[in-house]
Symmetry: C2
C-alpha cells in the first residue's frame, strides 16, 4: 500500500490525557484513535494488526475442531437473571439500556449465558456432542477506570470459545487441547518466551479450576510467581503452601513478576448447563447435562501487550507474524526506482508499505521506526552507488546494502540474518 | 466440513413469534438464532454467508482505493450534539447508557459524525486528500418495531464507507466510482438483475442528492417506480413531475414495485466537515472544507433479501458467490465411499459440507434442500450402479449421474449446465 493512502499521521507529541505506554505508542504511530477513555477505534494500520492476530487465533482454534459463529451484542435480561448475573451487585461492569417498549436489555460483556441458552435448544442426544465453537466479538464493559490503553478498554475485541462435552473425560480433553492451542498461539504471536500458563484458581484437585496465560509486562495488572529455571508460574491468589506442596515445589524457588493476562481457560463443569437445560440423552437414554469449558483470548489486549513489550524509545517493533506490513520502502529522492521496487514486491506477493510522501528524509526515517514494520528498505542514490538497497531489520541496529535479487529472495523466503 | 461438527439442527416447524419469511427460513435451516425481536446471532452456516458477502464487498471497495478501519461502537455525546443528532427528537433510534461516572454515551447507529471528527484531526493539507475508508460494523438501532427478520434488525452488520475530497469534481468522481463498485457488488451477489439504482432524494440538480440501491423483494419496505424496458427506477418520494421531466420520461412508463433498500449513497457536501473542522490548506495556502460522501451496504440485510428472493417452498437457494459451501455430499448408506469423495474434494480446495450424520435418507434430502447449498452430491449404491454419483444443482429439478473425474472437473472449473 502507498503510505499516502493511509491518511493517518504520526505524531511526536504524547497525546494528552493518555498515561499508558501502549496507547501512547499506538496513537502516535497512527494505529488507533482514542474516542474517549478506554474506547479506541482501529485505524487502517491497527486494523491490519488486529486482523493478523485474529487470523493466527482462528487457525489454531479451527485446528482443534472449533467452528466460528457470531453472537449478538444485545442481550436479554431474562437469560442473565437465571445465573444471578444481571444484578449490578454481582456484575458491576454492565452497560444497560431499554427498548422503546421499556424492556431492559444489556450489552454483551461476556457470552457464556446466551451461548449456553442457545446450545440448549440444539442439544438432545449424545450424538450432538461434542460441540466446540468460537467467535471474535466486540465486548462492552463499563469499567470504572480505564487507564491501561487498549489493554483494558471499555470496548475491546475478544476471542471466546466454548466447549460442550458429554462427560468429564471428553471435557478434560478439550481443556488440554485448548491449552496446547493457546500455547501455539502465543508462540506464533512472538510472545512465547515471556508467556506462562498459570494456575489461577481452584488448584489442581478441584472440579472448577481455571488457568491463565500471563505475559510478563510492566504494564500488567497481575503479579505472578515465576520459577525461573523451569517454565512454571503461579498466580498470586493461589501462591499458597497447598499449591506449592501439590506441585512439589518450595516458595523460595519463585520470584514475583508483573504480568498481563492475555488468555484464560475455565471449566464450569455442569453448573451453567444445568441452569439452561443443556442436556442430552446418553447411550442408555438417560438425560445428562453437558460439561462446559470457556476459553478467552483478548485480541485487542494482545496488540497492546505487544506494543508494550516489543518497543524501544523510537517506537514499536512488530513481530513479523502480526506486523501491519512486512516491508517498508522509503524513497529518499529516488521515487522512480522506489516505485519500481514497490511494484515488483507487490507482484511477488510481499506485504509492503511504500512511503511515497513528499516529506523530508528525517521524517520518513523517524516514522518508519515509530510504525515498526520488520524490514525497512531505503531506496536512494547513496545506496545505489553502494550496490543496491539499504536494508535494515527494525530489531537490528545495523543496515546492509543488498542487490535486488538477494533482497527479494530474503523477503520471499524470510531468511535474513 | 463434516455436518456433525455444525451442532445446529434444522427444523420443520415455523418458529413462533416470527413473521418474516427470511428469518423463518434462516432459523429453520440453522443459519441464525433469534436472541430477541430484531436481534439475531449468526450460527456457523450464517456466519459463513456473512463472511462471503463481506469478502465481495471488501474486494470491490478496495478496488476503488478504499482502506479498511474499524470505529468503536461506544460514542461520545458531545460529537453528536454538534450536528444536533444526539437529541432523541431528531434521532429516535438511539441506544444510550451511562459510564459509571454518570457521563452519557451512545451506541453507534451510524458513524458519519465520529469518523468526520477523527478525520479532522488528521487533515491539514490538500496533500492529505482524497481519503476513502470503509468498515464492517455492528450497528445498534432501537427500532420501535422489528418484524422484518434480519432485513431490519435492532443489531445488524453494515459496510459503511466515507470519502473526503478536496473539491466537488473529485467528490463526484468518488460518488460515481462508488456507484459502479456497488453495481458490481450486487451483480456478484446474484442480485444484479433485480437491483436498481434509484434517485432517492434531492433530484439531480441539487447539491445534497442521494441514491439508493433497491432490490425487488415482496418483503421490502419501499415502493419504487420501475421503467420495465429501461433499467431505470425512481423512489416513491421523488416520483414527481419534476423528476420525470428532468429524466425526459413520462409517468405512464413506470410501474410501482415493492423493493428493499440494500445500499445507499449520500453526498453531504461540506455540511458535516464544516461542523467538525475537517479542513485543509489548498495549493494557495487557503483553508477549505473537504467534501464528504457516505456509502452504505446492509450486509446482514443482503443475507435476508437473498433468503427472501432466492428460495422456494423447500428452502433457500444460495447463489454460488455467497453460499456457505459449494457442495453438499450426502451419504445414503455409502459412508466409506462418501468419506473418500469428501477427502478428495477437500484436497482439491472445494468448499464442501459432508452430511455424515446417522439419520435417514429422507431427512438428509430435506435438510439439503432447506440449507440450499448449490451442488448436492448423493453417494449411494444406486448411484454407483448407475456409474458414479448423483449430482443435482439446488436450482435445478433434474439430477445427473456423473463419474468422479467429470464431477471433480465440473466443480473445480464451476462449469456445469
Amino acid at each position: 500500500m502507498k503510505q499516502s493512502l493511509l491518511f493517518t499521521k504520526t505524531s511526536k507529541d504524547t497525546p494528552k490525557d493518555e498515561v499508558s505506554k501502549n496507547a501512547i505508542l499506538l496513537m502516535r504511530a497512527g494505529f488507533v484513535h482514542k474516542e474517549m477513555a478506554g474506547v479506541y477505534s482501529y485505524l487502517p494500520l491497527g486494523h491490519r494488526v488486529i486482523q493478523n492476530i485474529k487470523k493466527i487465533v482462528a487457525e489454531e482454534m479451527e485446528a482443534i475442531g472449533s467452528v466460528e459463529l457470531l453472537m449478538s451484542s444485545l442481550q436479554e435480561k431474562v437469560v442473565w437473571e437465571k445465573t444471578n448475573r444481571w444484578d449490578d451487585e454481582q456484575v458491576d461492569i454492565w452497560f444497560k439500556s431499554k427498548l422503546q417498549n421499556g424492556t431492559e436489555i444489556g450489552f454483551g460483556w461476556s457470552h457464556e449465558e446466551p451461548i449456553t441458552a442457545m446450545v440448549a435448544k440444539h442439544l438432545s442426544s449424545y450424538k450432538d456432542l461434542p460441540i466446540l465453537v468460537h467467535q471474535f466479538q466486540n465486548k462492552l464493559r463499563n469499567e470504572v477506570r480505564a487507564k491501561s490503553g487498549v489493554m483494558r478498554g471499555r470496548e475491546f475485541i475478544m476471542k471466546d470459545m466454548y466447549s460442550y462435552a458429554a462427560n468429564e473425560k471428553d471435557h478434560m480433553d478439550f481443556y488440554e487441547a485448548a491449552t496446547q492451542a493457546y500455547t501455539k498461539v502465543f508462540t506464533r504471536l512472538g510472545l512465547g518466551d515471556i508467556t506462562y500458563v498459570t494456575s489461577a484458581s481452584g488448584g489442581v484437585f478441584t472440579n472448577k479450576f481455571s488457568h491463565e496465560f500471563q505475559t510478563l509486562c510492566e504494564a500488567g495488572e497481575d503479579t505472578i510467581y515465576v520459577h525461573d529455571s523451569k517454565k512454571l508460574a503461579i498466580n498470586e491468589e493461589v501462591f499458597t503452601d497447598e499449591t506449592l506442596s501439590a506441585l512439589g515445589e518450595v516458595r523460595e524457588s519463585f520470584n514475583p513478576r508483573t504480568a498481563a493476562e492475555v488468555g484464560n481457560i475455565f471449566t464450569f463443569g455442569t453448573d451453567k448447563t444445568e441452569v439452561f437445560g443443556a442436556r442430552f440423552k446418553n447411550t442408555d437414554g438417560v438425560e445428562e447435562y453437558a460439561y462446559l469449558g470457556s476459553y478467552g483470548i483478548g485480541i485487542s489486549r494482545v496488540m497492546g501487550v505487544i506494543a508494550e513489550v516489543c518497543s524501544d524509545d523510537k517506537g514499536i517493533i512488530w513481530p513479523e507474524s502480526v506486523a501491519p506490513f512486512q516491508v517498508h520502502i522509503l524513497s529518499l529522492g529516488s521515487d522512480t526506482e522506489a516505485t519500481e521496487l514497490y511494484t515488483e514486491m507487490k507482484k511477488a506477493g510481499i506485504d509492503v508499505l511504500f512511503d511515497d510522501r513528499d516529506i523530508g528524509a528525517g521524517s520518513k526515517l523517524a516514522d518508519a521506526d515509530l510504525i515498526g514494520i520488520p524490514y525497512r528498505v531505503i531506496v536512494s542514490k547513496k545506496a545505489f552507488d553502494a550496490g543496491g538497497y539499504e536494508v535494515k531489520k527494525r530489531i537490528d541496529s545495523q543496515s546492509h546494502v543488498l542487490n535486488k535479487d538477494t533482497l527479494m529472495s530474503i523477503l520471499i523466503s524470510k531468511k535474513y540474518d
